[in-house]
Amino acid sequence: MGYAYYPGCSLHGTAKEYDMSSRACLDFLGIEYRELPDWSCCGASSAHSVDHTLAVSLPARNLILAEQMNLPLMTPCTACYSRLRGAHHALRSDPGLARKVLTALGSEYKGRYEPLSILDVLYQYGPEAVGEKVTKKLKELKVACYYGCLLLRPPEYADFDDPENPGKMERLVETTGARAVDWPHRTECCGASLSLSDTKLVVSLATFIVDMAARHGAECIVTACPMCQANLDMRQRGRTKLPVYYVTELLGLAFGLEPKRLGLTTHMVNAMGLLRAKQLA
């Protein structure tokens, strides 16, 4: 048993450190995975605003490739997660569309495995089991877990956790010894899809989210989404700047992995300063 690993485009570009830290964590935990050979774009986020059939077909190709490997498909990127699960859902619930898409792709799809997020995979591994592998406790680190939209909405298929009051990421992060602060804006939209077209709006959203995290006592933000990370990291304009980490970066750190190997040196808001101040890196 293992997983087919689908990095998606972001992890080859703006979120390279997510890719690095994800692979590092999976390797460290001994979770088997193989990068999906010949994977193609999942279509996010342009396809589904243009053509539903296309929006299902693009991820369907990757789902089929994984099914042919007889492995569940897993991705760190939440946009890919959303698109893959949306397509999986559509193929199973809309026979007419399924026929059209699968005829075009010239293949069949049974949908034996649900596509997963890397957080699902870590959950299948088990938070306790993850905790046991922690060698360096991230004590004193106060973290605001930030889910954004794509992991939780629409809840018909993007159902990683309760859409309004999630808590799974907190549980995972707390295995490292860090303390997850209780803050209400965990599922707020960061505005990523307007990042380039309406930057002013996005700056206000991102700044608000980071400010709220800070007001609730957080020293940093943790996310599992390349869009959220990039957006919050780049667009926050508040008085206090909070570094924005990927879950896998913090986990990797707690596993005692090299910060460089985790990509921690590539952030916009200095990601190392806080860690050094806390003597965690």
Partner: protein
């Protein structure tokens, strides 16, 4: 020998103007079995009916076809007419040559052959008709009212006033229901308990009403006029006859838990009365938490009771009783607002529901009528009300409108201003629905005193620096709104009791997709159900407010009274009937029947040398309404519908297609 008489009606020129009546009579005479044909100007007139009676006697007719108007018009007339001539009234069949023929055609050459076909159909059918006899069933003139809320109390009082015995079964230790929890009632703002408690006392002291509290219905069988009901009266652990309700036991009891009556905002003891005016005014021991029962220790209440009324050894009582009619008044409950994670109910103590606010306003409530925040007891200055929580929302709740929330929210806003002068109230709403006498005026009043109505929904509530930040959208202004509130009140929808489907199954009635009991007809039979003798009152049928509930309860009571006014019930003989020799006993028919009129019957018969038992379907003619759905479900052809038999319908098809 079959001797059919056909009576063709002219209906003045109504039929004769378009149909060649003479030709129809001529053709009818040729139909097999027809021995007498006659034409009448107006068959339904006295002379017309006389001629039928005369012909039945003179020509020894054993079947009659009246070719005239719609059976929906005059079938009863001619049945009675035939009966008066000594013919079984179900041996009369009508051929509708007016509404279905002469009135819709103008060309006689087209209408006449059609009329002949229609008569041929009727002749073919009546040939296969058999005499049917309505049976009568006795009526047990005692009513069972399930639920002791305002609906049950009102229905019971009305029925008892008419002189019939009523039993109210209530599962809580007191009657009163939801209305007892309310502080004031809209739109008059009179105090709820001031108008309710006298009725509770009336019910308790009425000689015709018996109140069983801590009691539940376990099983109902039988049919209209003759319901067998098994009731369980849970042990109260108090000898009601001895108890004087002095309350010493309650004050000395060392154990307590959240008070259900106060919606968890206060506590009550293990031996308790839900509220001071409870009826019956006797305490109850909650065996789940009472130390005597949980630990085997304690017994203080027994020690301090001056009249020796505490009885730990009391046991549940099972009562088997017979009733003639049942009124279901089981009420509704409050939507679980936890489903709205974004409102934070359960996480933020100052987010409460409407019913909880009622308890905070009520002078018998946990705060003695002072509105205080549950978190720190402070008096709130800014209160946000959110409407349609669980209603009109298919995603998280139910699509229906909960009906009473608009008005009770308006009431809350008014009461808030009364209790806390200078406080401000915001109401987030989708629409304001104030249809009802004096309702719109009441809503206007809540606006006039300064309540700010914001049209839009709330997307998130979060605590910040001791306040609750309510984020939402004002869709009229197209703007985001943020209110710093001290208290948030959710207008939770009325939803069916969790065990409503179970109760419906016991009663043999249907319920809608949400669990509200279904009335027999949404317009014309609003308090009846598909099961004869079972009636509905109050919110078990759908969300409603107090005036509507009371009106419906009285309507249900009238239905019960008119049922009891008869000494016997006559049953419709057009019911399903089983040919046991054909029935294989698969009992598909049982699932299809909307009236629970089909049951399994074990019969014994000889098969070769052995005596074998097997099960067959059996129709309870008291319950069967004659829809015939079972006949089509029956593959064996064992199930038939008297008056509309398979033989008759197949013969009609044949006659029409010739």
């Amino acid at each position: 020998m079959i001797r059919i008489g056909v009576f063709v009606c002219w209906c003045g020129s109504n039929i004769a103007g378009t149909v060649d009546v003479g030709k129809v009579a001529e053709e009818s005479a040729k139909m097999p079995g027809v021995v007498h044909v006659e034409q009448n100007k107006y068959t339904c007139s006295d002379p017309g009916q006389d001629s039928i009676r005369k012909a039945i006697k003179e020509h020894r007719l054993d079947r009659v076809v009246v070719a005239a108007c719609s059976p929906r018009m005059h079938e009863m007339t001619f049945r009675k007419c035939a009966a008066s001539a000594g013919l079984n009234q179900y041996l009369v069949e009508m051929a509708n040559i007016r509404e279905h023929c002469s009135w819709v055609h103008s060309d006689m050459s087209v209408a006449t052959p059609k009329a002949v076909d229609i008569v041929r159909r009727a002749v073919a059918k009546v040939k296969r008709s058999v005499p049917l006899f309505p049976s009568t069933i006795p009526v047990e003139k005692r009513a069972l009212v399930i639920g002791g809320g305002i609906a049950g109390i009102q229905a019971a009082l009305d029925i008892a006033e008419a002189g019939y015995e009523v039993t109210i079964v209530e599962r809580e230790p007191t009657i009163g229901g939801r209305m007892a929890q309310l502080d004031k009632t809209f739109p008059t703002l009179d105090c709820s308990s001031c108008i309710l408690t006298p009725k509770m006392v009336d019910a308790a002291s009425h000689p015709g009403i018996r109140i069983l509290t801590c009691s539940e219905v376990e099983d109902i069988s039988g049919y209209v006029g003759n319901f067998q009901v098994r009731l369980r009266k849970r042990a109260r652990s108090i000898d009601e006859a001895r108890c004087t309700a002095c309350g010493i036991c309650i004050s000395k009891c060392p154990t307590s838990r959240d008070s259900e009556f106060n919606m968890g905002l206060g506590t009550r003891k293990a031996i308790y009365m839900p509220f001071p005016q409870a009826v019956p005014n006797k305490p109850t021991i909650d065996r789940e938490i009472c130390r005597h029962f949980t630990e085997g220790k304690c017994g203080i209440c027994q020690k301090v009771c001056p009249s020796g009324a505490v009885d730990f050894s009391q046991e549940d009582q099972v009562l088997n009783e017979k009733f003639g009619a049942v009124v279901a008044a089981t009420g509704a409950t409050q939507f679980s607002v936890e489903a709205y994670g974004e409102y934070g109910y359960g996480r933020y103590p100052d987010v409460i529901t409407g019913l909880e606010l009622e308890r905070l306003i009520s002078s018998t409530g946990p705060t003695d009528g002072k509105i205080r925040r549950p978190s720190d007891g402070r008096i709130p200055r800014t209160v946000v009300f959110i409407k349609c929580v669980g209603s009109r929302d298919e995603n998280k709740g139910y699509p229906y409108c909960s009906k009473a929330c608009c008005m009770y929210t308006a009431k809350h806003a008014i009461l808030l201003k009364e209790k806390i002068p200078g406080a401000s109230a915001y109401v987030f709403y989708m629409d304001v629905r104030a249809g009802g006498k004096d309702y719109e005026e009441f809503y206007q009043r809540s606006q006039e005193i300064g309540t700010r109505y914001v049209r839009g929904r709330v997307s998130r509530i979060y605590p910040l620096d001791g306040k609750l930040i309510v984020q939402g959208e004002d869709t009229l202004l197209g703007q985001r709104v943020e209110v710093e509130a001290d208290l948030v009140v959710l207008a939770a929808a009325m939803v069916p009791q969790i065990d409503a489907p179970e109760m419906a199954r016991k009663l043999g009635i249907s319920y809608n997709q949400y669990g509200f009991f279904s009335e027999a007809h949404p317009k014309l039979r609003p308090v009846e159900t598909n099961t004869a003798g079972v009636f509905l009152a109050g919110t078990c049928q759908g969300p409603k407010d107090i005036p509507e509930t009371v009106a419906q309860a009285s309507a249900a009571a009238v239905k019960v009274i008119s049922l009891f006014a008869k000494s016997e019930l006559t049953t419709n003989p057009n019911v399903a009937s089983v040919d046991e020799s054909l029935c294989s006993g698969c009992l598909w028919c049982m699932n299809v029947c909307p009236y629970k009129a089909i049951e399994e019957k074990i019969i014994t018969e000889r098969a070769g040398k052995e005596t074998v038992t097997r099960s067959v379907a059996s129709v309870n003619t008291g319950l069967c309404q004659g829809c015939g759905a079972c006949t089509v479900a029956c593959r064996d052809g064992a199930m038939n519908l008297l008056g509309f038999t398979n033989e008759q319908i197949l013969a009609e098809v044949e006659a029409l297609c010739l």
